[in-house]
Assembly symmetry: D2
Homo-oligomer: 364 residues x 4
């Protein structure tokens, strides 16, 4: 068993107020029972990160306190074990999930640990800590040299997958969970709305699961990326009506399933209008305004299934295998890399889609 020297202090990028980021030197945390300490190697920036920095998740109480260490798409190396840990050894290369369930509520026991009934009960302010963790959202995250994790949030990385690619396990997993909930019709037509990193992952996953025609709806350079990564048809919604075009491409019947990854307020409406009778729509995105319109009579008449998809439960192993086999071409999703010190710059570039940025990875 390898041994690692663990320093007392570490560098961490902290959020100290909305729109205030600061590098800090903080104590290296210690793993409790069932936890391990990891040396963080790569953290991918997620679309939710700039939103949280700007205060866009105040309704969700994210971040819960200051200074807060964000970062939830990460990979690293196990360097120390807490009591009772038997499924990992120091030296293991691992990718993390953002959620760990409480393990005791009805949803966790049934496998739905990203919708744990004890979500958010973190023991702060006199409440009970019921054991759920949402790393980087209401629990300390990966924007630092080290962090501790419950082992049930970790997955070993295949040898041929780099830390940088593995840090997108959570991102591609969010896509994959939605894809699984909507279902992919082998030989059918799948639509993905929104060619960000989640949408592009969803697109590659639909192809890997046997869809015959994967259609991406978007615009600009990200739509070009979709074409490069293998989308069968790309629809620029600024140039043509995507609903009309999808119906044309499917002989008037509509797509078998639609993965809504854009977060645009009118996308759920369009998704329901381009999907076939008995088709499925996965709501993988979130919206800046909670109240979104759907065509309720169409949903009824056409027996459409709309399913919310929360994070990435139970799919990390599959995503890592898809990275390993190349079914998801992870390297092509990464456009920029920065050291932890440059996190603010990295976020700014990512958020404003500068330099053709798609997935931006931090190496603490």
């Amino acid at each position: 068993m390898e041994t690692f020297k663990i320093p007392e202090k570490m560098k961490a990028m902290t959020l100290t107020a909305y729109d205030k980021l600061a590098m800090a030197e903080v104590p290296v945390p210690k793993p409790g029972p069932g936890e391990v300490l990891c040396r963080i190697k790569s953290v991918a920036i997620c679309g939710s990160d700039p939103k949280m920095i700007h205060g866009g998740y105040s309704f969700a109480n994210w971040p819960p306190y200051y200074p807060f260490i964000m970062g939830h798409e990460w990979s690293g190396q196990v360097v120390a074990l807490g009591d009772g840990v038997k499924d990992f050894v120091p030296g293991d290369r691992v990718a993390g999930e953002a959620h760990v369930g409480c393990g005791k509520c009805d949803n966790c026991k049934k496998g739905h640990y990203t919708v744990c009934l004890n979500y958010g009960k973190d023991g702060k302010d006199g409440g009970l800590d019921m054991g759920h963790r949402h790393y980087g959202f209401y629990w300390q995250g990966a924007n630092a040299e080290y962090n501790v994790y419950k082992t049930s949030s970790l997955h070993k990385i295949p040898d041929n997958v780099s830390y940088d690619v593995a840090s997108m396990c959570d991102c591609a997993g969010v896509a994959f969970h939605g894809v699984e909930l909507a279902g992919v019709t082998p030989g059918g037509t799948s639509v993905v709305i929104g060619p960000g990193a989640i949408g592009l992952s969803a697109m590659m996953e639909c192809k890997a699961l046997g869809s015959s025609q994967v259609i991406m709806i978007g615009r600009g350079s990200k739509l070009e990326k979709a074409r490069e990564l293998g989308a069968d048809v790309c629809i620029d919604f600024e140039k043509e009506d995507p609903v009309k075009r999808v119906l044309e491409l499917t002989g008037g019947i509509g797509a078998d399933e639609v993965m809504e990854c854009s977060g645009a307020m009118d996308s759920p409406m369009k998704a329901c209008k381009m999907v076939r009778k008995t088709g499925s729509v996965a709501i993988i995105a979130t919206y800046h305004n909670d109240e979104v319109l759907i065509p309720a009579n169409t949903v009824n008449f056409n027996e459409i299934h709309i399913t919310g998809s929360k994070a990435n439960p139970n799919v990390s192993e599959q995503v890592l295998k898809f990275f390993s086999s190349g079914a998801i071409d992870g390297e092509k999703l990464i456009t920029h890399r920065f050291p932890l010190e440059d996190y603010a710059k990295a976020v700014e570039l990512f958020e404003n889609k500068k330099g053709g940025s798609l997935k931006v990875v931090i190496n603490p």
Copy 2:
């Protein structure tokens, strides 16, 4: 084999323009291959009937022509067979479904015949008749002494079920399909919004399928009927906040499933807010305005499943067994009976909920 004397002409209640009903004497139709002629015994008035009479379904092209014979919730007796009919004999007591699939499209072959891909292709105006029928909507219905039906739309009535009760097979079946699509959690909490005949049927079906706590949301005399028919809890939405109350009744977790049978524009929103994480909402109703709001982030965060439910495929046998066993107390749903001549009066009473009317049955 019984034989029946079939007259040349019959009485029929026809719609001759929006809001214009007229009794007429018309030829008794002849059954084609695979069809039978039925003597109509009972026709239940559905919420869609007054709406169609007033022109509220012009967007759906209902009725497709004038004079049109409406009526789709019906029971009767087989009195003559078309060519090749081997599954029925004259004398059989039968209840009808409103839909018959084309039998050849992808959806029909998979069993989803109420969302037939050839819906509405009726051979009129130079188009092809692809074989789907929607009796009483775009194909001749039951508001007459006789009508012809494809045998695949018919089900034999158990001996202990009356024609009047059996005429509600379609109505209770619409409820049942939604209940099946949402799923009933044995030992769980089910909510039904809207105590009309469909909602009351859904309520009794939830109980029959093992729900431990069935909550009805509504108001007035129909809510009283829900209580009488066995709802565990009745919430008057004019007197208390139904979302808050359902959360209280479930320890803050929410209902396992919600059957939206009200058609009120704000019900889908409320349904999503009162259902638990991973819960289901069935959209069984239709809405006077197609564009309806849902809480999209809640749908995503809580992984809620919303499913459109179209009519009553594949459940008639089950509904008839529930009528027979008393699991659905059909007699208690019927409040008034009228002869065909009084159809306009019956509709008026039904539509305006006069005299505590719930289900109004016509006996042609």
Copy 3:
């Protein structure tokens, strides 16, 4: 919060060798992190108990050591908490499940914790304890005054359910899991083979979930009990051919689903022959010889689904609600009660079906 005086020593019924039972005074165990100490109130004897006593589970390494405290269908009261326990308080009345998952393997994370991939890894003989527990099988059980349990194996008992009835939560849960896996067709025909406590529970559960005709196959006094508890049809397999009879009762079509709870070597064969095309057979029983015949061509031609059903994951809350509502009439399943000292006598009576014994409960 109530406090309880915990003694140092307790009485326990131990297995010291095959067919050797001995009362012993042993230390009261101490709850570790995430565990609670329970005062055992009731333990129901399961069909597996005499089999284990006689050495019939040597292939499974049950018991794993001597002296061993068996007993896995139990209820009791929480009397002390281990570190970090926040979901229970002393005084809580609880019913237990036999299995707790490791919480980290692929199956546990997906909710299938009774088929945990770390099953049996108990830390003995130099191996790793991976955290799964099978109380009363390879981990200390309930045949004693006290035992410790992980809280995720516990469920609060509704006020109107007695400890004795609640001790059958595991038994009725084993039935319920099988019933859920096979599925109950509302308005359909369900067959249960084997009117022991599991089969009788399955029968009542099928009725509670909407089956219109529940058929029990068995013989003798237990078959009489089935009739008393509400079976629609009872078939004595010594007097008539059950396959032929089920086909007659279903118009030649066969039952919608069959719950095989008998463990008779020829029951799976018969089950496949009496179930309809597309029907389901749940294998809830185990067999004294692992190699059992099925009619493979019939399985293929009729597209039959056979599903193994292991223990009672995720159904305890539902079973307790059914006990509370009376949907499962627990009191009628209990025929005898004994103090712990008389365990050997109780097992002997239970095993040999003396005195009309069905469910025999021990009160330590």
Copy 4:
């Protein structure tokens, strides 16, 4: 619309007694309502064909009469329409399914038309013809220049798929239905037992649906073909224990799903022993002896799902798309072609696996 000259007489290969084949000149059949006449272009020989010739299906009453025209895996061209046919025109290139449902029974209405409850009711011997067809088994088949078919059994062939490849639509569809019933775990391990044409199709389908490791179990030249067509691992069961090897290849956990396509009497037993806890086994093959052993306790303990898979309902469109995309490499499955006159020779070569024969196609 193209018109075709239809002769009065045609050549047909007939079975006149067990093991007696004879070319005959017979009338060209006429399409009834809802039927079309097809000029047969290609008929693929199925493993069931020699078995039927030798009398191996006497238990199933196949063939039902003499002389009988067999042949059920076929493609051809529509040349004449019966009354009411609107979904095809003369000239259409089509591939056929062996089964057409009655369209009226409970199973057909739910989409399970290969397990039609009116199977075999063909109107012979004074019984009723209820409308189900099993072409080439109990209804006239494709070993002739022409045959009539109900249109719901037909699918249009994509332009880039040849008649010869399209004739395997039924064969690859049988595999696909089993694959869908068992389910393919994306990123998982799938095992196929039996590298015949069905097994090889299943193998390619598992890969197309996202399996990361597809293991073929067989021997000889067919196992070599599996390697050539992309099996990730090939296990020669004469050289090593396939159960042991599959467990090794999966870290002791077992395969996610097993497609049993071999028909060997010990394959179901092995399949259950090499599949993981909660895994699935599809019984796609049939057996020369109906009574087959399974490890019932393993099925119970490991919660294994065994599913019979009957023919190819609802998958032809998907299979044709997979032929078109190359996901199933149809050309590589075809090893020999013969004219109708050489049918006996073709069957002999196919049955005895001479000349590396795999799929042998007849061109009438």
